[in-house]
């Protein structure tokens, strides 16, 4: 018998750092129609809210005075606007973490059928059709225990309708393979069509007698085959790097700081290559109890959110805003197809599902907008009096060409001109 003690080492290593050629089959396939830089949307979600006093600047307008947490924004001050006084809709059944996840981007009355498609998906439907993935949803937390053993909506903020979440990715490797290293080496379009036809014929054997539950899984199989076709037809933007290093990941339930950074890098790369134009990132799921040892706090995130505001909250806020700041800077460092920075064409929204997490308040939700739409207001702190967050979503939708009179339960008029 031969032993293969290193097999696992090899497998894991293979997921480590491996240079993969980017789209080898597509080089020379012909450029995209026109290199007009499209507008993109990126939502950065932080769960459990943040106490108003810690993140709301004490002065308004330009040159706002830093609140304890917002010092983390100093490096991107001239590219971002801090917006205070926005609220999510209250859930008549009580503001829990499951309903807040459902309500955060849908603007709806959380947990009810009135909450429909989230605004990122509305925008994705409008602008995402030509890309590899209409939208990309990524979370830094996966497979963590659910509250009371019930996994509900808390893992998702992006919704197709009130019970259908948009697909969520939690693996760096999966995102890398699907969105970045999309080259597969098809050498013949005819052969590819023939291969997929053969596979579909085999799949028919299975669907014949499938139960409803199995039919759903077989639908996933069919969807995977369509995805292969989309991948083969995809042509990346001209600014896309020619090779990318497959990042390592630890596969732990909570992404490490290095992994969060890698995930953000991948999102930037996804936008840069025009593999997607709409993305959401969750640094944790709603109600996340991520251990906060990385910032020297011996509590979980959710646990901390239910304590009196303290320096620990400040550290937590600075940690999340620090990652957001990193993302904005990373976008700014990339040159888009028209020579401007990628940030110039991207709306980057920092938002939470709650205001003060200790009371599950839906008022005074922390909110920072950077990039394209923020240009006109950049460097300012805009203060509103209890306006719906959905009004801001209306503004963002309008900026992406979706004119809608109302949105969600509360949104009735656009908050700002972000065009």
């Amino acid at each position: 018998m031969t032993t293969r003690p290193t097999r696992r080492a090899l497998l894991t290593a293979a997921g480590g750092a491996l240079m993969l050629p980017f789209l080898p089959s597509l080089l020379g396939r012909g450029a995209r129609a026109a290199d007009v830089a499209p507008r993109r949307l990126l939502v950065f979600f932080v769960p459990n809210g943040l106490p108003d006093a810690l993140w709301r600047p004490t002065t308004t307008g330009a040159g706002w005075a830093s609140a304890p947490i917002t010092q983390a924004l100093d490096l991107i001050r001239d590219r971002a606007v801090v917006i205070s006084g926005l609220r999510h809709a209250d859930d008549p059944g009580g503001n829990g973490h499951q309903s807040s996840a459902l309500g955060c981007l849908t603007g709806g009355t959380p947990g009810s059928s009135a909450s429909g498609m989230s605004f990122d998906q509305v925008i994705a439907d409008a602008i995402g059709a030509d890309t590899l993935r209409p939208s990309l949803n990524l979370s830094a937390e996966h497979d963590t225990p659910c509250a009371f053993g019930q996994c509900g909506s808390e893992e998702h903020i992006s919704w197709r309708d009130f019970r259908t979440a948009s697909p969520l990715e939690t693996s760096i490797r999966a995102v890398f393979g699907k969105v970045i290293a999309t080259g597969t080496g098809w050498r013949s379009d005819a052969a590819r069509a023939s291969v997929l036809d053969a596979v579909r014929a085999d799949l028919k054997r299975y669907t014949r007698d499938a139960s409803a539950d199995d039919a759903k899984r077989l639908d996933a199989y069919a969807e995977g085959l369509r995805s292969i076709e989309r991948r083969a037809a995809f042509v990346p933007a001209s600014t896309c790097p020619s090779s990318v290093q497959l990042p390592s990941e630890d596969g732990y339930q909570y992404a490490s700081d290095a992994d969060v950074r890698t995930m953000l890098d991948l999102l930037v790369l996804g936008l840069q290559c025009d593999a997607t134009r709409v993305a959401t990132f969750m640094i944790g799921k709603a109600g996340s109890d991520r251990p906060l040892s990385a910032i020297g706090v011996p509590l979980g995130h959710h646990e901390l959110s239910h304590t009196t505001p303290s320096a620990r909250h400040t550290a937590l806020g600075a940690w999340t805003l620090g990652h957001f700041s990193y993302l904005v800077q990373a976008l700014d460092a990339v040159t888009d197809t028209d020579g401007a920075s990628l940030l110039d064409h991207t709306d980057v929204l920092f938002v939470s599902d709650m205001g003060d997490g200790s009371t599950h308040s839906m008022a005074d939700v922390p909110c920072v907008l950077a990039g394209a739409g923020a240009a006109r207001w950049a460097g300012q702190h805009l203060e509103f009096q209890d306006r719906p967050m959905a009004d801001l979503y209306l503004s963002l939708m309008a900026a992406h060409g979706v004119d809608q009179a109302t949105f969600g339960a509360l949104g009735t008029s656009s908050l700002l001109d972000l065009s």
């Binding site: 293979a14 393979g177 013949s188 052969a191 199995d214 995977g224 292969i228 390592s248 600075a318």
Partner: protein, 695 residues
């Protein structure tokens, strides 16, 4: 008191109230499957269950003779009940199918271009903070959010252990904290030889990334890596702009992110024992040969009779590709991609479509053949087993060559059954993946990939020995010898030659016995620098006794202080009634192992040697005592049977069904309780032969 369903539930309720437990400093990148499985969802029998990643790899290897890891392309399978292949555990998603195509293409390329070996990517990454550095470093805590190690002084050095003689691509990730317009240079050296230089420069104050890449030949073993930042300011200070904030700290910093080695020259091991392209009489590179190749591949990959129309369909793929200008080999490769991407390969032969073949004949013998091969090899059946299925045999009561047991014995004697050691046994005993824990703890510089790999080999070797010599499997807990390399022997304080292969050494008088003293087990159950009796108890209770343990309640204050680092600290678990309600039934099972530190060495201060009173009143004063006690528990024998049954059926049998498990255990005990006896008892059990009919 017996532990059973009711008691467990009661404990779970009580434990919602605060019992202090130690807050683990658990590194986030710790490989969780190396510890114990606790969260076990029910595994439903699911007709359209896909092959696990391991099963995909091994089935392709078995059918086509090429060994292509899924690792780069497919996300890892979830661990359920300790294993990665359980029904309901391996998810079938669109992402999987999409990813599967890329892997299928790599397999096809390995078959059709065997002379140009596929590079087998192999890499090692060290996060800088995991390495032991000489000096000049400080932690990055105050500079969150980035987890990098910051050099504030001059040169800093560390030692990495290179896993093989090879040409390596070295990547060093840097993050420079720069002032505006003030570039500085960084040089990285390996063994004193410059590897490369980077200049970090920013137009703004803040962190800028940098990196050094080089290709260099490194030998197996330790190498010194030095990082030499030149903080001499060369930037044009005169260009400082009024009104801009400048970085206040008097010194620029250099942050080290990670050091990564990627093996350049490693190629696939020569496993090509099957000529998947053999023409068997047809003219080479002919249309007829393509048909031969496709038919043979389909029968092996799809693991059932293949209809003519199915062969024709894939032959059409071949012809289409050839018509579009692809070579004969590449066109066959396209047909192989179609075969590998098809549900007939990727899904198990179960459910409605497993009832009848395309020609109407019964598929039941093929279902059994598949089940048997996956149970013993984690791969599809070979030609001989398929031939038996074609004869309609594989009956559990048949003693002939195509009976279930004779075929099982044939499969067990095949080298492919080694997976039962390296996957089944190592996962059951909790040491699978322990080789990835070496960075866990900087307090133990001796944690190296080499040592932890040897620890895994030690446990594997003992299991293999007991299996091949038909010994009672309970000797896993009592063996008076072990299989040590020089690294492991050194940890145990035994005389060590320089043997690099595990060698049988006596443990008599060493204070160790069986796997309870195995360093791999003790490291895997340490969960960090300071192993607690609770963690090791969890391993004993869960992995060895198959008990369900209540999860630690939320909001537990940390237990700190205490003079004795181990036993006294847990005094509150006994003295506080709220704690004792749970912990009195947990802690004692770990206490006999608390004499070992996280590396598996006897603690230097001699602590943890107090005798332990187990809940049944037995006093245990040594590891040998404890091993004997555990081996004598019916619960251990039943748990071993539960684990084997779970493995072979791919269904979770780790709890419940007590009478059935007791009967199976008795059957295995009647045959000496060797691994072979347990395997044969479970393979002839209805839970394996007719899972649809069993409850």
């Amino acid at each position: 008191m017996r532990w059973g369903g009711n008691n467990v539930r009661r404990f779970a309720v009580l434990c919602l109230f605060g019992c202090g437990h130690v807050v683990e400093d658990k590194p986030e990148d710790q490989d969780t499957d190396a510890i114990v499985d606790t969260d076990v969802p029910a595994a439903a029998l699911w007709p359209h269950r896909r092959l696990s990643n391991l099963q995909l790899e091994r089935s392709a290897a078995s059918a086509l003779g090429v060994d292509v890891p899924t690792g780069p392309w497919l996300p890892p399978d979830p661990v359920i009940a300790g294993f990665t292949h359980l029904g309901g555990g391996v998810p079938l998603t669109a992402t999987f199918v999409d990813d599967l195509e890329v892997w299928a293409r790599a397999v096809a390329a390995a078959v059709t271009h065997p002379t140009s070996p596929q590079p087998l990517p192999r890499s090692v990454t060290w996060q800088a903070e995991e390495l032991p550095w000489t000096e000049g470093l400080r932690s990055s805590v105050e500079l969150q959010p980035f987890t990098v190690f910051w050099i504030v002084g001059g040169e800093a050095s560390t030692v990495i252990e290179v896993p093989a003689d090879e040409v390596w691509s070295v990547h060093v990730g840097l993050v420079g904290r720069v002032r505006m317009n003030e570039p500085y240079a960084v040089t990285v050296e390996i063994d004193g030889e410059p590897l490369g230089e980077a200049t970090l420069y920013g137009e703004r104050v803040g962190e800028v990334p940098g990196e050094i890449d080089a290709v260099v030949e490194l030998s197996l073993g330790e190498h010194v890596v030095s990082v030499v930042p030149d903080f001499t300011r060369t930037g044009p200070l005169s260009e400082r702009q009024p009104g801009l904030e400048y970085y206040q700290d008097p010194e620029p910093y250099l942050g080290l992110d990670a050091i990564t080695l990627v093996g350049e020259g490693t190629v696939l091991p020569p496993t090509q024992t099957i000529d998947a392209l053999a023409c068997e009489g047809a003219a080479p590179e002919s249309d007829a040969c393509a048909t031969v190749v496709i038919e043979r591949a389909l029968q092996r990959l799809w693991r059932r009779p293949v209809a003519d129309e199915e062969i024709t369909r894939l032959h059409d793929v071949f012809q289409t590709a050839q018509g579009d200008g692809l070579s004969w080999a590449d066109s066959v490769g396209e047909a192989l991609v179609a075969a590998l991407l098809s549900p007939s390969f990727a899904l198990h032969l179960e459910g409605p479509q497993a009832a009848t073949a395309a020609d109407g004949s019964a598929l039941a013998p093929y279902v059994t053949a598949n089940r048997l091969a996956f149970a013993l090899w984690q791969s599809g059946p070979d030609d001989a087993l398929l031939a038996c299925a074609a004869g309609g045999a594989l009956d559990a009561t048949d003693d002939g060559p195509c009976g279930l047991l004779p075929q099982a014995r044939r499969l067990i004697a095949d080298p492919r059954a080694e997976v039962l050691v390296n996957e089944f046994a190592l996962r059951w005993l909790g040491v699978h993946g322990v080789d990835h824990l070496w960075f866990v703890n900087r307090q133990f510089p001796r944690y190296t990939p080499g040592l932890l790999l040897d620890e895994q080999r030690e446990t594997a070797a003992l299991f293999r020995e007991l299996w091949s010599s038909d010994h009672d499997l309970r000797e896993l807990l009592t063996a008076d010898h072990t299989w040590a390399t020089f690294r492991v022997a050194d940890v145990y304080g035994l005389d060590a030659d320089s043997q690099t292969e595990p060698k049988r050494v006596s443990l008599v008088g060493s204070g160790r016995a069986g796997i309870l003293g195995h360093a791999g087990v003790l490291t895997a159950t340490a969960k960090g620098s300071d192993p607690t009796s609770v963690d090791r108890a969890t391993w004993v209770l869960s992995n060895l006794l198959c008990r369900t343990i209540p999860k630690p309640p939320p909001n537990v204050p940390p237990l700190l202080g205490g003079s004795d680092p181990i036993t006294d600290r847990f005094e509150a678990h006994v003295s506080d009634p709220a704690c004792a309600s749970c912990h009195a039934g947990i802690d004692p099972y770990g206490l006999p192992l608390s004499r070992f530190d996280a590396l598996g060495e006897l603690r230097a201060d001699g602590s943890g040697l107090k005798p332990t009173l187990l809940p049944d009143g037995t006093e245990v004063s040594s590891v040998e005592d404890y091993g004997r006690w555990l081996a004598g528990q019916d619960e251990f024998a039943r748990c071993a049977v539960r684990r084997v049954l779970t493995w072979v059926t791919a269904q979770d049998h780790t709890t419940g069904d007590d009478a059935h498990i007791a009967a199976l255990t008795n059957a295995a005990l009647g045959n000496g309780f060797s691994f072979q006896a347990i395997l044969e008892a479970t393979l002839t059990d209805p839970a394996f032969t007719a899972p649809e009919e069993s409850p």
